[in-house]
């Protein structure tokens, strides 16, 4: 097992190098650079760009060098913990992301808990009461959640929340708390606002999760060991939870790999619609503006988290399921 983990760790290095090269290439592909985008955006609004410092910044951040050279500059800086500089914000990348990260993690964690708390009971109920009215009803709701794009739902909900209840649109707290340090009052204000994004983002995931839990559990429930357990007189709860349910969790564990990056990036589109101060809109905006160090460093973080997430789920899976662990001729 230890050798397995060590090997996986070493494999991460080339994986990440390839990822970084890919990220950099994709960012280089669109024509022009941040400054060209910036100039044309300003022009589109009938303004002149603040050109006085463009040459200065270009030189400072090696934009006058060929791409390959820039790639190595970026990589070397990144490895040293210097994530570069955002042209758009004119601040170091770490300063910009830092603030938003906590709220993003908070929202994402709550969303995941919300998804699980709803999806598991419903999924188990649907599987054990297959083709009952309850199963149909809940499945219908789940599919509805899956089918409606959550940004659309967010727009509709926001509009009616404003027209009917006069609630302000978007945001994660009352405006007066925005620049203040965390306090009890601020925290309460956040709690008052946070349920809406959590529910909206969670609904899609919940729909999908219900289907997955139901399907995986159904697969197990038909197996002979379940019949045997029942026949032997195992109480129904134990006959469900101890074996078939545990077996059906494999899909869920292997999914952890993708959960980790999504915790950090948040749901981009919903966050934009709801004007949430999370990292999602930041990333989208950085990509649009070709703010390459901000976008690049952020994507690199996501790549790292994905790789770590996959490692964690592989290890967890091996620990949970001896069938996975003992494959390839290994013995206990």
């Amino acid at each position: 097992m230890l050798r397995y983990i060590a090997r996986r760790f070493l494999l991460m290095i080339p994986t990440l190098l390839i990822a970084s090269a890919l990220i950099f290439t994709v960012m280089e592909l669109p024509p022009g650079d941040f400054f060209e985008t910036f100039v044309s955006e300003m022009q589109a609004q009938g303004e002149k760009a603040d050109m006085s410092r463009v040459e200065f910044l270009k030189k400072e951040y090696h934009l006058d060098k060929p791409p390959v050279e820039r790639y190595f500059y970026w990589l070397a800086d990144f490895a040293q913990g210097n994530y570069g500089y955002s042209f758009e914000y004119q601040l170091p990348v770490s300063d910009i992301i830092g603030d938003k990260l906590i709220l993003t993690i908070l929202i994402s964690t709550l969303t995941i808990i919300f998804t699980w708390a709803i999806a598991f009971p419903i999924g188990i109920y649907s599987a054990t009461h297959q083709y009952s009215w309850g199963d149909y009803g809940l499945t219908f709701l789940g599919l509805l959640g899956l089918a409606i794009p959550h940004f659309l739902m967010a727009l509709v909900v926001m509009y009616f929340a404003n027209v009917w209840f006069g609630l302000s649109i978007g945001g994660l707290m009352e405006p007066e708390y925005l620049n203040q340090p965390m306090s009890m009052a601020k925290f309460t204000s956040v709690l008052k606002h946070i349920w809406l994004p959590v529910v909206l983002i969670g609904i899609t995931g919940t729909g999908g999760m219900i289907r997955a839990v139901r399907a995986n559990l159904l697969d197990e429930l038909d197996k002979q060991y379940v019949v045997t357990a029942r026949a032997k007189g195992l109480p129904p709860g134990r006959a469900l939870m101890k074996y078939p349910f545990r077996m059906s969790l494999n899909f869920f564990i292997s999914d952890i790999g993708s959960v980790l990056p999504s915790v950090v990036s948040g749901a981009e589109i919903v966050a934009i619609v709801l004007s949430l101060p999370t990292t999602g809109p930041l990333l989208v905006r950085a990509l649009q503006a070709q703010d390459m160090y901000l976008a690049g460093s952020f994507l690199m973080f996501l790549a790292i988290l994905t790789v770590i997430g996959v490692l964690i789920s592989d290890i967890a899976l091996a620990m949970l399921d001896p069938r996975v662990r003992l494959q390839g001729g290994a013995t206990k």
């Binding site: 024509p31 009938g46 509009y159 405006p175």
Partner: protein, 643 residues
Amino acid sequence: MKTGINRRILSFLMFAIVAFSHSRAVAQTALVEPPILAGLVKDGVLPPMSERLPLSPLVLHVAEMGREIGKSGGEIRMLMADQRDLRIMTLYGYTRLMRFNLKQELKPDILQDMIVEEGRKFTLVLRKGHRWSDGTPLTAEDFRYWWEDVANDKKLSPGGPPIAMLPDGEAPTFEILDSHRVRYTWPSPNPSFLPALAAAQPLYILMPAHYMRQFHQKHVNADALQRTVRAARVKDWTALHEQKARQYRAENPDLPTLDPWRNRTAPPAERFVFERNPYYHRVDETGQQLPYLDRIVINIATGALIPTKVGAGDSDLQARYLSFDNYTFLKIAEKRQDFTVKLWKRAEGSRIAIYPNLNASDPVWLSLVRDVRVRKAMSLSINRRDINNVIFYGLVKEGANTMLDGSPLYDPAFQTAHATYNPAEANRLLDEAGLTKRDIEGYRILPDGRRAEVSVEGAGDSADETDSIELIIDNFRAIGIRLLYRVSQRELFRRRILLGDTVLSLWAGWDNGLAGPDTEPEALVPSNRGQYQWPRFGQYAETSGAQGDKIDIPEVQELADLRVAWRKSVTREERMDIWRKMLKIHSDNAFIIGIVNSTPQPIIVSRRLRNVPDQGWFSFEPGAFLGIYHPETFWLTDAGKRN
């Protein structure tokens, strides 16, 4: 103590003098402390108003401007899309050394006086006792610091001083006459200098030296500076200096300013609070210090959602990020919310214009669009009345791309030149240009046998544009030219035009349709690669001949020569004459085919907010959007209650 008394006596004397020289001067009424500052003055945190103001403040005669004399206090909210928009406050504040008024005349603002000799010797006279927002006096040293330690520092300004300071590449001699007078002398006239100071994005020729010095290698010891650099996590001291010195984009809350409101929030943030500058130099005729509004709060929201949020009542004053498309939605919201929607006018020479590319790479089309008859025919073929009625509800003006009726250079003849609907004349001109043969569908045939089929390219970011082009396609069909509309992403769009791949493109006309004789006429001559009618001539001018093509059209060369004449001009009359000639050349040649102008711009104003004009021009240059309409005189009816 003694100096304090002297100062007071002196200020009394100065006010007496001002009172004598201007019959309506402020000194006749006592100065009125803004309520929010009264407490601070009482506690001794701030000096009283008489000491904060310059000896001769700038008096705005609010009543004569047709506005109400307001009450100090209160806060309004605005929405912006990102941190870069903080520059909006520098625009709305519109406080400059010199300032354009609504008649496009230059008047001193921060400066008490500006003495110009022979168009090349500029003596700038500061107001005595004028102070930065932190209370430090504004002196000649602040000008010297910028000129010697910033603009001429090899590291801070690798490209040297800004262009407006270098007519014909020559730098001025800078002299300090005394603590409040400085002089710039050039060997030849520099008419660009004053307009640059008054521009929406101004040329800053001063910096708060007392504050900036701590970030300058020359003024502090290297170790201490190195520590600050490391703490700020920037590369070196030049980056630090650059970051701290941003005046246009007011990001640094510690940077002293001369603007009416100063930023109190360090970025990154989702909400920026701007507070009144207690040392601001303008007062109203009753002796109240301006601005009336104590605070302006800018909340950051997603750009595309701003109209929705405005409709939900989240902004008290908003024009940016609203467009005419939103008008009906805002009108419905007006009934529910506490705001009114006003319609101002946009000041582009033309809201939508067709740019024939005089640097196109297709040789056949190139010779066609270079033929003035073809350009005129295109212009004559467009039914502008239809476009106005169908797309703009008949609210806009139809006309060529030229100066609007709010400009001192307005000429109705230029507006209508080749801009009336006359397909018969258009057809005649095209026949005359040699395109006589037609194919079976009625389209003309080009000299090389191809059908006269061409794509008109756009960036497609407004519905007005995409809707109008549909009508124009029909109009062009009637003169035997087949138009195909093609949308590309903005950078690709620019690039294709520069490479000559695009023959016709669609964009707004001149940004500034209200220019006066003092406006630098760069939009009218090849000056940069963003000019879609002659991108490569523009690139040639921009790179001093390193890239692009040399002008090879006599009329364009004539324009370029006139610009040179403008840059050597001394008097306003001379410049007026040059501008008129240039506009005439443009009108005769239809280099840019304008369609409609004066399109409406919705601006929503809280019912509590007074003094916002019902009519106005909304444009970056001139006017700094709202800036020229004196937002410092806007006031809240419930200002007293809130404080």
